[in-house]
Amino acid sequence: MQLIKFITAGNVDDGKSTLIGRLLYDSNAISNDILESIQQSNGTIHLAHLTDGLKAEREQGITIDVAYKYFSTDKRKFIIADCPGHKEYTRNMITGASHADIAIILIDATIGITEQTQRHTFISDLMNIPCIIFCVNKMDAVDYAESVYQKIVDQISTLQFINKHQIEIIPVSALNGDNVVHRSNNIPWYNGPTLLYLLETYQPIENTVNLPAFLQVQYVSFQNQKRYFFGTLLNGNFEVNQEISIYPTLQKNKIKELYVLGNATSKATKNQAIALTLQDDTEIQRGYYLTANTTAIDETKFQFKLYNQFSAICFWFDTTPFIPSKRYFLQHHSLKTYVKCQSITEVLDLNVLKFKEYNHSPIEMNTIFKAQLISAQPLLLADYTKCAALGSFIIIDETTYKTVGSGIVVNQ
């Protein structure tokens, strides 16, 4: 069984909560005591209340944060990051998107594509979510008319994408359950898959770029007269006696011992949490990278490279605006260093979804901008679309310690 993570995004009233409720309800993920608590006086179930949030949220009538929901079928386990659709949607959606294999974007059939739909699509695209499913919801409210669906399909076909995605468009009624878990008799003209079928059968695309094996050191422990390095292996394999390179020191070394989940082994494979010792005792700190040596110089293959200066698309999350001349912390997974902004080149105009030249107005919360950054320590980076693990970072305020922004590396 496989684990799939997806996000749901939509306008305030287009039935996102009802859709999630429907998925959970029709896949039998709701227990009786929870069902009772959302039963209305006339005995019907208010599906949207399944995703009801905190007291603090109900008091203000808004959703303030991403909520995580879980369900599984016989085929897969799913994690839903439910992103609220209002004012702070950029921050919440980028957060949710950073964990997602699939984005589900809701469109109200009675309204069609809105500015908000375009923004959700833009962010899903920018964050390189490999599969985008548009659910044309409330088909019951338009008498299940094919013409309405077709018009929205045409609207979607005009959207521009930077990256490549698998795109699906499904006519649904979350309220009545059409094409969510069960195929609809009300929509005979639609021969495509239901939403759940897509979720259960979608195959995540493996990274297209051929990366050698590498890991970032998370923790170093000195015990039994040995230095142990702990980290998760990404891409490819590590073997005992294998030659490796250390970044950023560029030293060479050799793997002496390998442990996978506590057991000594001669070979570790992709995505395993491993521990290892090295032949030569050299200084390696948390945040350093150990990479498999690639001997052949092949221009088509990915080469690990260190950068002090790089371009990024940054997302600003904090109520205090970004100050380009200020020093911040940059956290690149297990590595923390200082970062400064050399220049802001462009800022996203959320109304037309185009990057425009920076006009020196303040970078407020939820702003997306392109910048040239300089880091105090050299970083092992890659374009986010080639390797998300090497191409993503967060920005932390040095005095408040709050996570004030994040970014993805571009054009490296």
Binding site: Q2, L3, A56, K69, S392, I394, Y401
Partner: protein
């Protein structure tokens, strides 16, 4: 393609290693329940072949199941853990606290005082817990690295955005991070993992005959001496097991004949009542019981 349990396991181990890499002194909050047993098992695997770099902290309410204390001490011996126990009884004396009144006097809410004192005394910058997001709606919005201010408060509106697997554990003196490595696991995931890994559990998780008190609508509590019962209370011997392990006074038993993990998994799959709904009296106090307690510094 990795099995989902391997995926969850690797993700949790990554989180535990981040905690070890980022904090000076962290403690695993250990209750003896299946979730903290799972976290402890993951930590042992994460740092093997070296010793785990965390201490183990048990907040003892004095209302424990004796089976759980025995189980805890066996684990400490087996893995040579550094165990610290702090007692709610001491906080009650020190701060003149009173138990939640009623027939089943509860010390559950008082644990926060003991925990906050322990954090200060042991100079802990992080506490690692077994909370899961599927347990309760206040938990569903919890971060994996969850910030607590110097009063131990959780503010759902001021949470740090958490992207990819990048965890910001920076804090000022007096502040604390709660780390939740099994956030993305469900109750069934935990049971499947316990089965796969053969993780030992306290015996009360399996069906046994026990003297029980009726505590309301189809809820039964294990009988304890300190309950303030009246002659009208119904006391019966029942075949029960516990679905979660908390204090005797707030953890209801479920009637069950499941004596092994397979039978438990089957029961959970077919039973239609949520874990906390079935077993926790403390959440039923009000609709926002958990949210309120979390804001005040609860686990």
């Amino acid at each position: 393609m990795q099995d989902y349990l391997n995926q969850l396991e690797n993700e949790s181990i990554y989180i535990l290693r981040e905690a070890a890499g980022q904090f000076r002194k962290a403690a695993i909050l250990f209750s003896g329940g299946k979730d903290s047993a799972t976290v402890l098992h993951l930590a042992i695997k994460a740092f093997s072949p070296t010793k785990i770099p965390f201490i183990v902290l048990h907040i003892d309410t004095g209302q424990n199941f004796p089976e759980v204390i025995q189980y805890r001490d066996e684990l400490v011996k087996k893995y040579q853990l550094h165990l610290e126990v702090r007692y709610v009884e001491d906080s009650i004396k020190k701060y003149h606290l009173s138990e939640t009144p009623g027939k089943f006097p509860s010390r559950n809410a008082l644990q926060s005082y003991t925990l906050l004192d322990a954090i200060q005394e042991l100079e802990l910058d992080a506490c690692i817990g077994g909370a899961r997001r599927d347990e309760e709606k206040a938990r569903s919005k919890e971060r994996i690295f969850s910030f607590r201010d110097s009063f131990g408060q959780w503010d759902p509106k001021q949470q740090r955005p958490e992207l990819w697997n990048i965890y910001n554990g920076l804090i000022h003196k007096g502040e604390n991070i709660r780390v939740f490595p099994i956030s993305n696991w469900t109750e069934l995931d935990v049971w499947h993992y316990i089965k796969k890994e053969n993780i030992p559990l306290p015996s009360i998780y399996f069906s046994h005959k026990r003297k029980c008190v009726k505590a309301g609508n189809n809820q039964w509590l294990a009988y304890a001496d300190f309950f303030k019962l009246s002659p009208n209370d119904v006391i019966e011997e029942k075949f029960v097991r516990f679905r979660t392990v908390g204090d005797i006074s707030c953890t209801a038993a479920v009637e069950s004949v499941a004596t092994d993990i397979d039978a438990i998994i089957e029961e959970i799959k077919t039973t239609k009542i949520s874990e906390r709904g079935a077993t926790r009296l403390d959440d039923k106090i009000s609709e926002t019981g958990m949210e309120d307690r979390k804001r005040q510094g609860y686990f």
